[in-house]
Amino acid sequence: MTIYVIRRLLQAVLVIFIMTVIVFFGVNVIGNPIDILVDPDCDQACFAAAEKALGLDLPIIEQYFVFLNNALEGNLGNSFVIGVPALPLIVERMPATLELALCAMIMAIFLGVPLGMWAGLRPDSISGKIIMGGSILGFSLPSFWVGLMMIMIFAVEFGWLPSTGRGETVTVGGIRLSFLTLDGLSHMLLPAINLALYKISLVIRLTRAGMREAMHQDYVKFARAKGLSTSRVILVHVMRNIMIPVVTILGLELGNVIAFAVVTETIFSWPGMGKLIIDSIQVLDRPVIVAYLMITVFMFIFINLVVDLMYSVIDPRVRLQGIKA
C-alpha cells in the first residue's frame, strides 16, 4: 500500500512538471499582450520599456526557467492587467467556486440516488420511464441554455430568485461563504441547480443500473429469506453495494463540475475562478491563465489520487493489484 502511494505521488509530481511545460509554452503562443496593455499612442521606446517591465524581452526558454523558479517559491507571477500577484487572486475566488460545486454535488446525490433507485426497482412502471426519460433530457439539454431559461423564468418573469452575484456573505475564518445566509442561499439556488442537472442524470443512470443488477443477487434473496422487510433490504443491504460506483464516479466528476462551473459562473455572474479565467482569456492576462491552469492541474491530480486511494480501500481487488504493480 505504501509503495503504491509513493509511486502515485511520484507520478503526480512528474505530471505536474510536464503540465508546467505544456501550459507555459502553450499560453505563451497566444497573441502579444503588450498590444492590449500599453497606450495606443505608445512609441517604440515605451513599448520596449513595457516589455522589459513584464519580463517579455527574455528568450522564451529563459522566461520558462524564471517562471519555474518562481513557481517553486509559490509565486506564479503578477497579473498583467491588475498588477497584483496571480495566485492569491485566484485563491481568493476559489471558495465561491468550491461552494457552488459542492452544493451541486450534494443535490446530485440527494436527488439522483432516490430517483435512480425508484427507476431501478420499477423499470417498467410509468414513473420509472418518466425518470429515465428525464435523465436523457438532462444529458441532452445544453446546460448554458437551461441556465438562460432559468434566469428568464425565475428571475425575469416571476422575479422569485436573484440571477446574479453571490448575495450576502458571511466570513468564516477569512473565507466568504454564501450558504450561511438566506439571501446567499437564494442567490446560489439557480446556479447550483444548473450545474447539478447533468450530474443528477448521471447519478440516476448509475444508481438504476446498479439497482437492477443488485436485485437479482443472492445476498438480496438471502436477506429476504431471512424475513427482512423490503425497505430494510433496499436501504441497508442494496444501498451499500450500489453506492460504491456512485461514490467513485462522483469523486472523479467533482473535477468536471469545477471546470464546468466556468459556464455557470459566466451566466450567473458568480464571482468564482471560472468567471476570472474567462475574463482573463479575453484580455490575454497570461500569468492569471497560467496560474489558473496550474491550480486546476494540481487540484485534479489531488482529486484523482484521493479517489484512487479511496477506491483501493473500498474494493480489495484493486488493492491487491496496486501492491503487485
Binding site: V15, V23, G26, V27, V29, I30, G31, I136, L137, F139, S140, L141, P142, S143, F144, W145, L148, M149, I151, M152, V156, E157, G255, N256, I258, A259, F260, V262, V263, T266, I267, I277, I278, I281, Q282, I289, L293, T296, V297, F300, I301, N304
Partner: protein, 312 residues
C-alpha cells in the same frame, strides 16, 4: 454465449410457419433497433434535422447573412410578425440585427452539425488508429499510449478545449482541432479494450500465420470485429461535440460571428432576454436540444442492441 462478433459472417436460416426466412445480422440489428418506438422517432427526427441542415440554402425563407435581405429596422420583432415590405411572416421573430430567426436557426444548425460531424469523424479515425496500434503491438507502445490517454481523460473536456481555443483563437478549423484533441482519447480507449479481446482469437493468429502485413491485419481483420462498441461511443461523442461546440461559442471562444452556430445565436439573445425578448435565445436552444436529444436517443438504443451481454 457467443459474442455478436462471431455471428457477423454467419447467415442463419430460420424456419418459420410461413417458410424459410433468411435472417442476416443486419436484419437482426434492424429489428432490435425498431423494438423501441422512441428510437424510431429519434431516427426520423434526426433525419429531419439533417435534412434542414443540408438543404437550408434552398428551404430557409431568407438568407440571414445576405445584408440585402435584412432590414435593420425590423429588429427584435416577436414571433408571428409580418415583414413590412412584402408581408412575409417571421414565424420565430427576428433578432437584434433584424434577421429572420427561423433562417438563422437553419444556418446555425448546418454549422453546428458540420462541426460536430467533422470533429467526430476525424477523432474517430485518429483514436481508432492509435487504439488499434496500442492493442495490437502491446508492451511498451501500449503502455506509453494508454498513459497519455489516461492523463488526458483525467482532465475535463471543457477545460482542455477552453485552453486550446484560448491559444488557437477563433475559427471553424480551430474548434474542430480542439474538439478532436479532447475526443480522440475516448475512441482510443474504447477500441483498445475491444481489440485486446479480439486479438487473442484464432483468426488473428491465422492472419499472422499467412504473413499478412500489420496494416492489413489491423484494418481488415481486427477493426471490423471491434465496430459495435465504437458505433455506440461514436454517436454519444458526436452529440457531445455539438453540445461542447455550442457551449464554447456561447462563451465567445468558438466560432467567429461571421459563421454563427446555434451556441452563438443563443449568446446573442442573452443580451435581450432580460427585457423579456425570449425568442432570440429560446428557439435556437430548442433546435440544439432536438439535435442533441435525437442523437443521444439513437445512441441509447444502439447500446442496447449492440451489447452482446444483453442479447435477447
Amino acid at each position: 454465449m457467443t459474442g455478436l462478433v462471431k455471428e457477423i459472417p454467419l447467415v442463419e436460416v430460420l424456419a418459420t410457419e410461413e417458410g424459410a426466412v433468411v435472417e442476416t445480422p443486419f436484419h437482426r440489428f434492424l429489428s432490435g433497433y425498431c423494438e423501441s418506438n422512441i428510437a424510431i422517432g429519434a431516427f426520423f427526427g434526426f433525419l429531419l434535422v439533417l435534412f434542414l441542415a443540408i438543404a437550408c440554402p434552398w428551404i430557409s425563407p431568407t438568407n440571414p447573412y445576405d445584408l440585402m435581405q435584412v432590414d435593420i429596422m425590423e429588429n427584435r420583432l416577436p414571433p408571428g410578425s409580418a415583414r413590412y415590405s412584402d408581408g412575409m411572416v417571421y414565424w420565430l421573430g427576428t433578432d437584434g440585427q433584424g434577421r429572420d430567426m427561423l433562417s438563422a436557426i437553419f444556418y446555425g444548425l448546418r454549422t453546428s452539425l458540420f462541426v460536430g460531424a467533422m470533429s467526430g469523424i476525424i477523432a474517430l479515425f485518429l483514436g481508432t488508429t492509435v487504439g488499434l496500434i496500442a492493442a495490437y503491438f502491446g508492451g511498451r507502445v501500449d503502455t506509453v499510449i494508454m498513459r497519455i490517454v489516461d492523463l488526458q481523460l483525467s482532465f475535463p473536456t471543457i477545460l482542455v478545449a477552453l485552453i486550446l481555443l484560448a491559444i488557437l483563437g477563433q475559427g471553424v478549423d480551430k474548434i474542430i482541432i480542439a474538439l478532436v484533441t479532447v475526443q480522440w482519447a475516448y475512441y482510443a480507449r474504447t477500441i483498445r479494450s475491444q481489440a485486446l479481446i479480439e486479438r487473442r482469437r484464432e483468426y488473428i493468429e491465422a492472419a499472422q500465420c499467412l504473413a499478412l502485413g500489420h496494416c492489413r491485419i489491423l484494418f481488415r481483420h481486427l477493426l471490423p470485429n471491434c465496430m459495435p462498441p465504437l458505433i455506440v461511443v461514436g454517436t454519444v461523442q458526436v452529440a457531445h461535440a455539438i453540445a461542447l461546440e455550442a457551449t464554447l461559442s456561447f462563451l465567445g471562444l468558438g466560432l467567429p460571428p461571421t459563421e454563427p452556430s446555434l451556441g452563438l445565436l443563443i449568446a446573442n439573445g442573452f443580451d435581450y432576454m432580460l427585457s423579456g425578448r425570449y425568442w432570440i435565445s429560446f428557439y435556437p436552444g430548442v433546435a440544439l436540444l432536438i439535435a442533441i436529444a435525437t442523437i443521444n436517443l439513437m445512441g441509447d438504443q444502439l447500446r442496447d442492441v449492440l451489447n452482446p451481454r444483453l442479447q435477447r
